[in-house]
């Protein structure tokens, strides 16, 4: 039990597997004198799901810490810059109905809450427009940085849109060539267990026995170790989030110089929504829908109409159908096995939560890697507690997008407002926010996946109203707010005048690269 943890085996070579391998190996190589040995085994026959194509800004730091050059990543993974998400037709369903969830915090967020000040302003400027420059930048398809801006730095906060397949290959090379991760192409056909129930080794098709102190299950929906082997139950949340199917397609650009959107576009449909992610090489578009409220043909038709807006004929393209079950395992770390990625759970990609969960899971494992088997159960309990909390908060946040709708063109939207479909934790927050605008201390944890600012953007984007406090706002507060609103206008104009187009910058990066300093 006191034996130090010396080896980790990761099962599965999708983005979750390689991202975990990279994060863990880079961290341990840097901090340990005798780094833990990291091995990744992947089946040569299983295709990767590869629909996680939107990231959070956290990915910048994740890649930087792995020692990846941003220039290489951008060039090889067909990356474009993402500055937020635009939600169209979620509130009223009308053509002009749209709001942004940008990535920059509201102006002066660490010293003033602008929400109550914005609410008493004359109508006309949306919340995100009033407090953040990124609406304007996205509307103009501008990049978040310039060719002279060093790698991983930005003038505006940014994340990425990436090609998941290319990203896996890119990480494979980096992990094996630079970080010393051992790569085995073989099928796992059996599991050998120890007396205490731990996995002692994996048996492979070629007859090898792969022993390790810790196993990371990155086997996708299959959840081979945690689900199949340990039978940890899956906790569905389809009573909260109704979507159960996705139709995904790649749309080529009409012209090589077609502008690339600087944000994910999420357009609500009759019983679901369509994602639209612009990469450097193509767009990835997909319809996530609830088959309880619409049938596949209608969903296909809506996707075809969406594609037709840019002149694409869906019938000529290959459309992939992906069944999805929203929810997560009841535990993520059991014995000496921890699940990361789809094997831990899945939620519709409405707020790009898939990759960020992989990043923070791998970061937790790397930074709190049990010193020995004796302490592993303690670390596992802490991991499970933390990630339960994270999954619940993400589910709440996704539900928020649906529950505030006033659409009644389909029962999908009406049922989404039904109180029985809304988690108690979210009920409570909504009750609070009727009288108090969201603020950081409304949440239990110091580091939340979605900060209070994100809730503000969605709430006020969806037309939510927080009642003005009866005590009013002081003259000093009003003055501070006035300055912050003015500063936002100034910052918006300045950024819009210096930033290049998203496509223009990406082309320049292909040609010249970005400097590291």
């Amino acid at each position: 039990m006191q034996q130090p943890i010396q080896s980790i085996v990761i099962v599965g070579g999708g983005t979750a597997g390689w991202l975990s391998a990279g994060v863990i190996a880079a961290r341990l190589n840097a901090t340990q004198e005798k780094p833990v040995k990291v091995t990744l085994i992947e089946s040569p026959n299983i295709p990767i799901v590869g629909v996680g194509e939107g990231t959070w800004p956290t990915m910048r730091n994740t890649l930087k810490k792995m020692g990846v050059r941003e220039t290489d990543f951008i060039r090889e993974c067909h990356v474009s810059f993402k500055q937020g998400a635009k939600f169209a037709r979620w509130h009223t369903g009308k053509t002009e109905d749209a709001y942004y969830h940008p990535l920059i915090l509201p102006q002066g967020f660490n010293h003033i809450n602008l929400a109550p000040h914005w609410q008493v302003q004359p109508r006309g400027t949306s919340f995100s427009q009033a407090v953040c420059p990124q609406d304007a930048l996205c509307e103009r398809s501008l990049a978040p940085k310039m060719i002279t801006t060093p790698e991983y730095q930005g003038l505006a906060n940014y994340a990425y849109h990436l090609d998941a397949g290319a990203f896996s290959n890119f990480l494979t090379r980096h992990c094996t060539e630079t970080l010393g991760v051992q790569h085995i192409l073989d099928e796992v056909v059996g599991i050998k267990t120890a007396n205490n129930g731990d996995i002692s080794a994996l048996l492979t098709e070629s007859g090898a026995e792969l022993a390790a102190d810790l196993f990371i299950d990155c086997t996708g929906f299959k959840s081979k170790l945690l689900g199949e082997h340990y039978q940890i139950p899956f906790k569905s949340c389809s009573d909260i989030l109704f979507a159960d199917t996705a139709l995904a397609v790649h749309l080529p650009y009409q012209q090589p110089d077609t502008e690339i959107a600087s944000h994910t576009i999420s357009t609500a449909q009759s019983a679901g929504w369509i994602w639209d992610i612009g990469l450097a090489s193509r767009r990835g578009v997909g319809h996530v829908f609830a088959s309880r409220y619409t049938d596949r043909d209608s969903a296909y038709r809506e996707l075809a109409e969406y594609a037709a807006q840019t002149g694409h004929k869906l019938d000529n393209l290959s459309v992939r159908e992906i069944p999805i079950t929203p929810g997560h395992r009841e535990k993520f770390w059991h014995k000496n096995c921890v699940a990361v990625g789809l094997s831990a759970g899945f939620l519709e990609p409405l707020e790009a939560s898939a990759l960020v969960l992989v990043e923070i899971s791998a970061d937790f494992i790397a930074s709190q890697l049990p010193a020995n088997r004796a302490v592993m159960d303690t670390v596992a309990r802490r991991f499970n507690r933390t990630f339960h909390y994270r999954w619940e908060r993400i589910i709440d946040f996704l539900k928020l997008h649906y529950m505030l709708t006033v659409r009644d063109d389909n029962d999908f939207w009406i049922d989404n407002r039904d109180p029985v479909s809304i988690p108690d934790s979210l009920h409570e927050l909504i009750e609070l926010w009727r009288y108090h605008p969201p603020w950081d201390n409304d949440f239990d944890h110091a580091t939340e996946v979605f900060p209070a600012a994100s809730y503000q953007y969605v709430l006020y984007g969806m037309g939510f109203h927080t009642q003005a406090h009866p005590a009013g706002l002081s003259a000093q507060q009003k003055q501070l707010a006035k300055q912050a609103f003015a500063k936002n206008i100034e910052m918006t104009q300045k950024l819009a005048s210096v930033l290049p187009g998203n496509r223009e910058l990406i082309n320049k990066i292909y040609r010249h690269g970005l400097a590291t300093v």
Partner: protein, 238 residues
């Protein structure tokens, strides 16, 4: 502003070039590109640093002559307060382009709109028999040195980039006038990273003469103090 044409001994036989210094000849600039091969001379007079090209993001070498547009603190009427003047200043009004002509030599272009170009005063370009004047021969030599220097600089900067030796320098300057300014966008060699070089990398840098060049760059930054003093001294008259 500029009207570059290939120099032609028939068309341009009567042209003369004024070789004096002064702001009327476009010398009132606060930055000038420099080449690595002249660092040894420049280090005695000028702060030298790297800056990024706005269009490509590539690093280039520059000497700092002042703190704002149209401010060359070295220039006093028709004199430079320096024993050496950068090649890019001295090449005016000529440009050499890398495209090769039939003779396999670089093309010499002249800026006909330059205030230096006239028919009355200065150095003739051609002798009466049509051959190149001594001045033109010297200029060709200077441009040759400049072209060679540009290539050497590119190789130097590329090595600095590859070895990740560069770091941004932030200048916070308080002038005697009370004006405070922060200058960003300047880069230099990181002394720390330079001294941490080992083995093959250190050998490469040493053999190519880059180690000296790096030390020149670092030492040259001391002249910024001098420029501040010069600016402070001239402030009241403005």
């Amino acid at each position: 502003m500029t009207n570059l044409v290939p120099l032609d001994k028939d068309q341009h036989s009567e042209l003369r070039i004024i070789t004096h210094h002064g702001k009327e000849y476009g010398e009132n600039v606060h930055l000038t590109p420099i080449v690595a091969t002249e660092l040894q001379s420049l280090v005695l007079d000028y702060p030298c640093a790297l800056m990024k090209d706005e269009q490509t993001g590539h690093f280039g070498l520059y000497a700092l002559l002042g703190f704002e547009n149209n401010e060359n603190l070295y220039l006093q009427q028709d004199q430079w307060r320096a024993s050496y003047i950068p090649l890019h200043i001295r090449r005016q009004p000529f440009v050499s382009v890398t495209a090769q002509n039939q003779q396999g030599r670089g093309n010499l272009l002249i800026d006909l709109d330059s205030a230096r170009v006239n028919k009355e005063q200065g150095e003739p370009l051609f002798n009466t028999d049509g051959t190149n004047s001594q001045y033109l021969q010297n200029t060709q030599q200077l441009l040759g040195a400049l072209m060679g220097g540009i290539q050497a600089s590119q190789a130097f900067v590329q090595t600095l980039t590859e070895l990740a030796l560069l770091e941004p320098i932030k200048l916070d300057i308080a002038f005697a006038s009370g004006q405070k300014q922060t200058y960003q966008g300047l880069y230099s060699v990181s002394a720390e990273k330079l001294s941490a070089l080992q083995g093959k990398n250190l050998q490469t840098v040493h053999e190519r003469g880059y180690l000296n060049a790096c030390h020149y760059l670092l030492a040259s930054l001391g002249h910024i103090r001098k420029l501040v003093d010069w600016k402070n001294a001239q402030e009241p008259s403005q």
